[in-house]
């Protein structure tokens, strides 16, 4: 798969400066490396002071880390973005229609486009949601579509994060940092703003208030707590929206509503932007061990007493086994050809696919169906013989637990290193807000970059960094 030359978003495949980077390149040429190194240090200092940190699972609790930030922006032209955003819009519409369908009439199964057991046997399918009408008809209020690029016009969807996509705070803080570090760049380039995201998020959440709500909807963010890896983001979003940041033990069901304990008694919440997984949401309905959720919240939800965002049960839409059906799903619900491509996917539950995967393991990427964050995956081309044989055993033992994909030749964007500009592989996670009748896509998104040479793993938990992402006005 690696015969084709890697596409670099600044220099193309043939070392010709691409148009979106023209103005940036002029600026960069005149900057001294020493000055930029100092700026890179300033940026880190700024992140540390602001407390933009994440906690690494498996490390000492008090350990807070910075996600490495690279000062070279990733630049996308307005035309490229326009095309991309149409594809994202289509995909998100399809996901919401799909979710409504599988929790109601299941037309897509009846039409034979998806095997029945893909839904009924899927751990991510939530029987509690059958027949439930989420307020405003929206399931995925916040979506983060992971995209990779392999050529000027070739974008692939790697993953549809339809549960609780994270990283938007980095998108916002990266921009904030760049504005402080290099104001002149923003005078020279017309970069589309991302700053409106928190206000849009609040508006979008408020637009989905439940039937029981009245007046200005009360919105709150539910966090698992201060030790969660994304706590900073939860606090950041609550702060930026001007709403309360709550934990499970601040909440209880009072008179058929979910209410938060304030200094003046219990106050009902209309819309709960939860950053807690389905399983932990309600110890009465799901995991009885959970101390992170609210006992009885699902019953309130079903009775129209609260809006939970994203809706419970949306995980079925970003399940890696369902992913392989996304082209069918898009066509079935939109009646249009999919604008964004899917990566070819082998479902190891199917014997022929499994045989192929076992034979070609060293060329493939294998992922756990329910995994996320880059944990438990195998990258064939860089794996050791030992890794490969260990994974072969795992695949044979639980084939249905895995999917496999070809190793894509991800595009690169330069990072600033000791040696100057050096290409590194990137992905892109645009953030999408869905409210009744409207889909809003923030121009750009979060660019994650693999900092190690040749590495294709961009996850922050695995040593990846981030960049500011610019969408230019054409």
């Amino acid at each position: 798969m690696n015969q084709t030359p890697v596409f670099d978003e600044m220099w193309g495949s043939d070392d010709t400066l691409r148009q979106p980077y023209a103005s940036f390149h002029d600026w960069f040429r005149d900057e001294s490396a020493a000055h930029l190194r100092a700026k890179q240090r300033d940026a880190e200092e700024l992140f540390r002071l602001t407390g933009i940190t994440f906690n690494v699972y498996g490390k000492a609790e008090a350990e807070e880390r910075l996600i490495p930030f690279d000062i070279i922006p990733r630049i996308i032209s307005g035309t490229e973005w326009h095309r991309l955003s149409r594809g994202i819009d289509q995909r998100v519409r399809a996901i919401n229609a799909f979710l409504h369908d599988i929790y109601h009439k299941q037309e897509i199964i009846k039409a034979g486009r998806i095997p029945e057991e893909m839904i009924s046997q899927n751990d991510a399918f939530l029987p509690h949601m059958i027949g439930v009408e989420p307020p405003g008809g929206v399931y995925t209020h916040i979506v983060g579509i992971d995209l990779v690029r392999t050529g000027p016009n070739d974008f692939y969807v790697l993953e549809d994060n339809a549960r609780t996509p994270s990283g938007v705070s980095y998108m916002l803080e990266n921009r904030e940092t760049m504005l402080q570090m290099f104001p002149e760049l923003f005078s020279q380039n017309r970069v589309q703003p991302v700053e409106t995201y928190p206000a849009n998020l609040r508006r979008s959440l408020a637009a989905c208030a439940p039937p029981a709500g009245s007046g200005d909807p009360v919105v709150a963010v539910l966090t698992p707590g201060i030790y969660n890896s994304a706590y900073f983001e939860h606090a950041f979003l609550a702060d930026q929206m001007g709403v309360e940041l709550v934990e499970g033990h601040d909440l209880r069901v009072v008179d058929g509503r979910v209410a938060m304990r304030t200094t003046r008694g219990y106050k009902p919440i209309d819309v709960l932007y939860r950053r807690v997984d389905d399983d932990f949401l309600d110890p009465l309905n799901f995991n009885p061990e959970s101390a992170l959720g609210v006992p009885g919240i699902m019953d309130v939800y079903r009775a129209g007493g609260i809006t939970i965002t994203n809706a419970p049960g949306t995980g079925i839409a970003d399940d890696k086994a369902i992913y392989s059906y996304m082209p069918e799903i898009v066509e079935f619900y939109t009646g249009e050809r999919p604008l964004l491509q899917n990566v070819q996917t082998w479902r190891c539950s199917e014997p022929e696919a499994l045989a192929y995967v076992l034979d070609n393991l060293e060329d493939l990427v294998v992922k756990e169906v329910h995994g996320s964050g880059g944990y438990g995956m195998l990258i064939g081309p860089t794996a050791t013989k030992k890794d490969l044989s260990a994974f072969r055993r795992k695949l044979k033992a639980r084939p249905a637990n895995y999917i496999a994909q070809p190793t894509l030749s991800l595009s690169t964007v330069p990072i600033f290193s000791r040696a100057g500009l050096t290409p590194r592989h990137v992905d892109l996670r645009p953030f999408v807000l869905v409210s009744p009748g409207e889909i809003k896509i923030t121009p750009g998104g979060l660019t994650r970059v693999a900092l190690k040479k040749g590495s294709l793993v961009v996850n922050s938990s695995q040593g990846g960094g981030t960049k500011d992402t610019w969408v230019l006005e054409d």
């Binding site: 407390g51 201060i226 706590y231 609550a238 934990e247 033990h249 938060m260 200094t263």
Partner: protein
């Protein structure tokens, strides 16, 4: 506001105040030790006691010396009231209430934490001690300045103030509790250098030497010092001043109007029973008993505030 947030604000400001008070106590102890005017070991023992850290120190089985006392108060993690522990706890609470405080306050607290972690990463040598303590006091002062300059005057601010003044009143009362005997008329051979040192150390530990000299002149004695620290409403660390601020802030929080909250009732009683007499009456009552009573009332008040504003449930 969430009860949890009120709790976080309350403890954030208590721990910041405590860090600063401990820094001041160490400075005082060091000063006495260096001028060789008093019994140094005795002084470190009373510094530890004033900082509420003596029994834990004794349990740690370390020998009491200048070095061990300073290290215990500065950076020992087994001591929840060491400066480092206080600043870490304050910052942890600030993270919890991140949405309630301004970015400026958060950054000031976070900078305090980062600087303290660096300054206190290793044992602090005698040579570096003044600089380290200065850094800490400047940093906590910056937090206070940012709080004052950028926070809305609403209930969030009220809880910050309540935490600050409860801690401060408690601190002043503990200093008096440890040193009350040097203020007793019977014990004082007025004008001896030992007494001067002891008085001086009391005044230093509440940053009030200059203020006291200005108000009372050189000839003042024990009664005046006791009055200054307990009843003088102009002195920002006196019990009367702190309790007055607690009373104000609890009143702001009660927007129901007429009926006082239980914590308000308590603070009103505290003021009218214990802070509305003159210093002679306090000496008649018994200075030690009075201070003990005050400490007890302050800790009951803290519990009542916790309940009134649903910190935990």
């Amino acid at each position: 506001m969430l009860g949890k947030t009120a709790n976080g604000l309350f403890w954030m400001s208590r721990y910041l105040e405590r860090a600063e008070n401990t820094a001041r106590l160490i400075e005082t102890g060091q000063r006495i030790a260096l001028t060789r005017l008093g019994d140094a070991d005795e002084e470190w023992s009373s510094v530890l006691q004033s900082a509420g850290a003596l029994s834990a120190f004794q349990a740690s089985n370390e020998d009491l010396s200048k070095d061990t006392a300073i290290n215990w108060l500065l950076r020992n993690r087994d001591n929840p009231s060491s400066i480092l522990s206080c600043i870490e706890t304050a910052r942890q609470n600030a993270r919890l209430v991140r949405t309630a405080i301004t970015g400026e306050v958060w950054e000031a607290i976070n900078a305090t934490y980062m600087n303290a972690r660096t300054a206190l990463a290793r044992k602090v040598s005698e040579r570096d001690l003044p600089e380290v303590l200065r850094t800490i006091r400047q940093n906590t002062a910056l937090v206070r300045g940012m709080t004052h300059g950028t926070m809305l005057r609403n209930e969030i601010y009220d809880f910050i103030r309540i935490g600050t003044f409860l801690e401060r009143a408690d601190n002043t009362a503990r200093i008096l509790d440890v040193k009350y005997y040097v203020l007793l008329p019977s014990a004082s051979a007025v004008g001896t250098s030992l007494d001067n040192v002891q008085w001086e150390s009391i005044l230093r530990s509440v940053s009030a030497r200059g203020g006291f000299r200005m108000e009372y002149g050189a000839g003042a004695g024990t009664q005046e010092i006791a009055h200054f620290l307990i009843l003088d409403k102009r002195m920002p660390r006196s019990l009367a001043f702190c309790v007055g601020k607690l009373k104000d802030n609890l009143r702001y929080l009660n927007n129901s109007g007429s009926r006082p909250t239980p914590s308000q009732a308590q603070v009103n009683k505290l003021e009218s029973y214990y802070l509305s007499h003159d210093i002679a009456a306090i000496f008649d009552y018994g200075l030690h008993e009075y201070i003990q009573k005050m400490l007890e009332m302050l800790s009951r008040l803290a519990l009542q505030i916790e309940q009134d504003f649903r910190f935990y449930e």
